[in-house]
Amino acid sequence: MAIQTIEVRERVMARNDELAAQVRSRLDAHGVVAFNLVSSPGAGKTTLLERTLAAVGKELEIAVITGDVQTQNDAERLAVHTDRIVSAVITDGACHLDALQVLTALDALDLDHTRLLFIENVGNLVCPANWDLGEREKIVLFSVTEGEDKPLKYPAMFKRARHVVMTKTDLLPYVPFDIHAAMANAVRVNPELSFLEVSALRSWGLRDWFGFLRYSAAGEQVSA
């Protein structure tokens, strides 16, 4: 038999990255800043978004795409706080969102009246790291009920992110969590990271978070 070898050398993510580029150019054309929110399950993505939508959702014209594995629960929780379109992607068991899902979800959003777009990814610190969704930046939520070594265990996600939001800081007195060691571990993985500390439940640190969002949205308006 004659075996023939065909060199391919094609990146597996090439097609996803192409679609992500389409998402990016559509968002850029409308002056929309998109953040990809990633974390372990239960770190507080939906709660932080609920508080954010309630406080500055209208002002900053925030839209949300949520990625739920099997339910619409997150979308329903967020819909209470906003009349802006919340577009839910049910991933049917998949561990991440991909650029095609986001590109499709954009059709359901009024981009002309959107300044900030949150893409709430599936709770998972491994898989979503590989999938570019066309976002401007990835924001990792890191709750104080996790381990300080999480950035060392899941370096890919922390390497690809730009910001870390430390969540549930109201629980710090009750858990053996050294927040400074945790942040030091994250910086070891990615020295470029910036940090915010919040408790969405107690409204701690939310002013800084909203300030960051206003700054991000305004920066885009100036350049748009």
């Binding site: 070898t5 094609e10 561990c95 590989n130 890919a156």
Partner: protein, 85 residues
């Protein structure tokens, strides 16, 4: 567990490259970086499963570890069924 979606994407690329000779595919080699967030054994398992369904007829997945976060379909081997020259 995104190895299955990666395997399916690899199958899509392979089918695009091979067209009608997809059924002659015998080996699929994938470069996987240490920081790519992909588990080799799991990916090989998924490749074997995906490439045992039409238009393929049982190609073997081979993972080649590499440094960095590379994740690419390296090469394909097809057997045209003709005897060697």
């Amino acid at each position: 567990m995104h190895e299955m979606s990666i395997a399916l994407e690899i199958a899509r690329i392979a089918e695009e490259r091979l067209g009608e000779s997809a059924s002659q595919l015998v080996t699929v080699a994938v470069d996987v970086g240490d920081d790519a967030g992909v588990e080799s054994a799991s990916l090989e398992f998924c490749l074997d499963a995906v490439f045992s369904t039409p238009p393929f007829r049982g190609a073997k997945g081979v993972v080649v570890r590499a440094p960095g976060d590379v994740l690419q379909l390296a090469y394909l081997e097809v057997d045209d069924g003709n005897p060697d020259d």
